[in-house]
């Protein structure tokens, strides 16, 4: 799987947009469009992945809120292909993130993502819901 960055720019001081494309053997498989906002004491990321025909496949909302020495991370993944909503809540040690670090992460993303580690995550749990019935599924 090859990841490339198609577009990356800042929108004012507190928002940034990144678009990546995933391909395999030269064929486009998926495109991810992501907007990240740095609000007061809160980070919010919204991203949508589309298939090669541009149809929405997955929508993801991530909220990160600092609490004491930890960050509380909550992500909602709306998967329209498998008709599932996955809610993951976790905690992570707070690390200092400089602007240059963030820029490096974006520029090096294609090399880093396949070996992404757990990083500062200390705990997390996921719940999965069926979009058609609302029933929680056992994972």
């Amino acid at each position: 799987m090859d990841l490339s960055i198609r577009s990356s720019f800042k929108v004012g001081e507190r928002a940034s947009f990144v678009e990546t494309s995933m391909s395999k053997e030269g064929n486009l498989i998926s495109t991810l469009h992501a907007l990240n906002l740095d609000l007061d004491n809160l980070r919010v990321g919204v991203s949508a992945s589309t298939d090669p025909e541009g149809r929405l496949r997955r929508f993801m909302l991530t909220v990160i809120q600092p609490q004491d020495q930890e960050n509380v991370v909550v992500s909602y993944i709306l998967d329209l292909t498998s008709r599932k909503l996955t809610i993951t809540e976790g905690r992570a040690r707070r690390l200092e993130v400089k602007e240059e670090d963030r820029a490096k992460v974006i520029s090096q993303l294609p090399n880093l993502i396949s070996s992404m580690r757990q990083g500062p995550l200390t705990s997390f749990r996921s719940r999965v819901f069926n979009l058609d019935t609302g029933a929680e599924e056992t994972t």
Binding site: L32, A34, G45, S47, S49, S82, V97, L109, M116, P120
Partner: protein, 114 residues
């Protein structure tokens, strides 16, 4: 393979039959529709095609059956490529770059907020 003794395996197979998940045939055991549902698999019959599936909606499964309608005797096995996991990882890393900081900084010590 199952790490069960013969008697243990026999007991499990008997319980699975009693639960209706397996059916004993002359040739061996057959997983029943109830058994497939217990595994999270669903089965539909539409347009003369029997389709076993998971991870897609019934409407999508019916559309596949419609496409295959009238095909001569066939067997089909398909699964999705795991791009979802990649999408999720990239989306998460863009909002929460801390997940990749240790890799960006090499082996330098992570700086914790005091």
């Amino acid at each position: 393979m199952t790490k069960l003794s013969d008697s243990g395996l026999s007991k499990v197979l008997k319980e699975m039959r009693e639960l209706g998940f397996l059916q004993k045939l002359q040739e061996g055991y057959l997983t029943t529709t109830e058994g497939m549902e217990a595994l999270g698999h669903r089965k539909i019959r539409a347009h003369g095609v029997i389709l076993v599936y998971s991870g897609i909606s019934e409407e999508q499964a019916r559309r596949v059956c419609e496409i295959l309608r009238g095909s001569p005797k066939f067997w089909l096995s398909a699964r999705s490529e795991d791009v979802g996991d990649y999408d999720v990882r990239v989306g998460l890393a863009l909002t929460f770059p801390e997940l990749l900081l240790d890799q960006v900084r090499g082996n330098s010590k992570e700086r914790e907020v005091k």
